[in-house]
């Protein structure tokens, strides 16, 4: 079976700390895949390895058959991988619309002369970017805020705007780093619907880091559990929930036998 995203045995060590070790994650097309684990388990680091923020010291990453480890982040984005950030990284001073349009940047051509002369091709591309951005914003019900500065949006909207911006890069695989963090239950509910909807609509594979176990167990079809940089369990939500190693890893954090509620994190 060929995978859309195929990370094989990736790892990195920070001055003796094995942040991620021998991690293998394989996403078939259209999957909703969860990456969970207690705080400091190495989930965000795994995203950084896959997206080229850090170069994996071991292993390889393939996206739709193309080797992407060693490429620079913008090249990986172009290859079809996009992400959101655990601590929101929007372009705060830019408008909501401009944030999403920047996502389309990677799919456009940007010749200096065409930009300065505003050639018909340039104008058409700008309009296409704008239209596409508005379509995406509409899906997230953010279209009415298109002209707001991104930094003025409520927290939950900022998180959704980040997903919107990531989608504008037209990714094959979308990596979401704790998209529900800081959201209230009804926002979470609509977020999980949205994640499903965009998966269906755009035919993406989604790799999801999330602390809200309810959300993960509800929408993910496959889950990998990390602890101390190592994979301790892989399987369906049911299998993972029943795995004694997973229960143990979460015990100290949650004080309950089953990882079902939100795990607190600093």
């Amino acid at each position: 079976m060929s995978f859309l995203l195929d990370a094989q045995g990736i790892g990195i060590t920070f001055g003796g700390l094995k942040a991620v070790q021998d991690l293998t994650v394989q996403l078939p097309a259209g999957v909703l895949y969860g990456l969970i684990g207690p705080n400091g388990a190495g989930k965000t680091t795994a995203f950084n390895l896959i997206t080229g923020v850090y170069t994996p010291q071991t292993g390889s990453v393939k996206l739709a058959g193309q080797t992407i480890n060693g490429l620079r982040p913008h090249q990986i984005a172009k290859a079809g991988l996009s992400r959101t950030f655990q601590n929101i990284r929007l372009f705060g001073e830019l408008s909501v619309l401009e944030n999403v349009m920047l996502g389309s940047h990677v799919r456009g051509t940007h010749r200096l002369l065409a930009t300065l002369l505003r050639t018909p091709g340039f104008v058409a591309q700008e309009e296409a970017m704008k239209r596409r951005a508005m379509e995406l914003l509409a899906i997230f019900d953010l279209a009415r805020m298109a002209d707001e500065q991104a930094k003025n949006l409520p927290y939950g909207d900022q998180r959704r705007l980040e997903i919107c911006r990531a989608l504008a890069t037209e990714p094959k695989v979308l990596l979401l780093d704790e998209p529900a963090a800081g959201m209230n239950p009804s926002e979470k509910k609509s977020l999980s619907n949205t994640i499903r909807e965009i998966r269906d609509r755009f035919g993406l594979a989604v790799l999801l880091i999330e602390h809200d176990m309810g959300l993960v167990m509800e929408i993910c079809e496959q889950i990998t559990v990390l602890d101390h940089g190592q994979v301790i369990s892989v399987g369906t939500p049911k299998q993972v929930q029943a795995d004694p190693k997973v229960i143990e890893a979460y015990l100290g954090v949650e004080g309950s036998g089953e990882p079902s509620g939100e795990v607190s994190h600093a």
Binding site: V53, H74, F91, L94, V106, M134, L137, A138, A146
Partner: protein, 366 residues
């Protein structure tokens, strides 16, 4: 709740290519330049005309520096270095070109050819400055904040010292013809390069003011401009979204240096002799203040701030001894009242649209 199709139906239809919007700005550029050129002599005396010339030069300098410091968020402190490169090369082409082609400099019968020489020198100076901008831009990939500021500051100082080391000016046409290339670098050391005819009248200067502003604004409101701004806002997010940091940082430096060179070349054709101190920290700092005061990223802000800061010393001239104090005070008050500069990243015309904070904007619906 609305369906997606409903949302999309509300989105404005694709706007066709409108030649008017594309070409009109250039026509306006020329008209503005002509207006300044022919109207201002009716209103003000020669002294104020020279103030208007200097104002134009500094608008070009400030708007171009804004591309690096404002749009892209890379703090360059060496803009005067690029101006000086453009200024010296521009002056050199006109001066030595006149000697070679005509045997003398500043002959009224040679004014048309001289003006063409100025334009050639302007292009040569701007391109050389752009080349230097490329070299200075490269370290910006690795250096952040303070370190980049120091490197660019050093660049300006290096240019200043190099100019001080240049050999004596050659004023003998025969000697220039004998060895044109060696003569060309006769920029007269610390004394400064004298005798360049003042071919840059109000028309030329304000034409380039208008061109620079149109180009900077078109840059800002394009996908390349959003790439610049995204780097300034958050480099990590920008590259994760596919922005090639190397390409865009260098592009910003090259563009800024090019128009910095244009500003310098114009300035050295206004009867002001270029001297090595033009490349130094003082001048760079003057331009930075204009950009910061106008608002990092605001083209119209840079224009207005450059106007104010060129005019202020003139208007305060009557208060002679308090001039510098008032000047400093005004800046401090500005920074306190509007810490993001006059307009922040916005443009003057954005402000009239009122407060954007209203929850339901008109955005998205026609």
């Amino acid at each position: 709740m609305k369906t997606l199709a409903q949302h999309i139906s509300e989105i404005s239809p694709a706007r066709a290519f409108r030649p008017v919007a594309v070409f009109v700005p250039w026509v306006v550029c020329v008209l503005l330049a002509l207006a300044v050129h022919f109207v201002s002599p009716l209103l003000v005396n020669e002294y104020w005309e020279s103030v208007l010339q200097r104002m134009g030069v500094f608008i070009v300098a400030a708007v171009s520096l804004n591309i690096v410091n404002g749009f892209t968020g890379q703090f360059s402190m060496g803009h005067a270095g690029f101006m000086a490169i453009g200024g010296y090369i521009g002056a050199g082409v006109t001066y030595y070109g006149s000697l070679i082609l005509h045997g003398s400099v500043g002959d009224p019968n040679f004014a048309v050819q001289g003006t063409l020489l100025m334009l050639a020198g302007l292009v040569a100076g701007a391109c050389t400055a752009a080349g230097a901008g490329y070299l200075v831009g490269l370290p910006s990939l690795r250096l952040r904040g303070d370190y980049l500021a120091i490197v660019t500051l050093g660049f300006g100082e290096i240019i200043r010292v190099l100019l001080e080391l240049t050999p004596k000016q050659v004023s003998d046409a025969a000697a220039v013809k004998a060895s044109p290339i060696v003569s060309f670098f006769g920029f007269n050391g610390a004394t400064g390069f004298a005798g360049t005819p003042a071919y840059a009248n109000l028309f030329w200067i304000w034409l380039f003011v208008a061109i620079t502003c149109v180009i900077a604004y078109r840059m800002k409101t394009s996908s390349s401009g959003r790439a610049f701004l995204s780097i300034r806002e958050d480099e990590i997010a920008a590259r994760a979204m596919g922005v090639d940091l190397t390409k865009y940082k260098v592009r910003a430096f090259v563009l800024a240096a090019f128009f910095g060179g244009v500003a310098g070349a114009l300035y050295s054709h206004t009867g002001v002799n270029p001297s090595p101190t033009d490349a130094g920290f003082q001048r760079s700092f003057d331009i930075i203040i204009m950009v910061v005061l106008g608002g990092l990223g605001s083209v119209s802000g840079s224009v207005l701030a450059a106007m104010i800061l060129v005019l202020m010393p003139e208007l305060l001239r009557d208060l002679q001894q308090y001039r510098l104090v008032l000047y400093a005070l005004l800046l401090i008050v500005m920074m306190l009242v509007r810490p993001k500069g006059l307009f922040g990243v916005k443009e003057i015309w954005d402000l009239s649209r009122g407060d954007r904070k209203q929850p339901v904007g008109k955005g998205g619906t026609p």
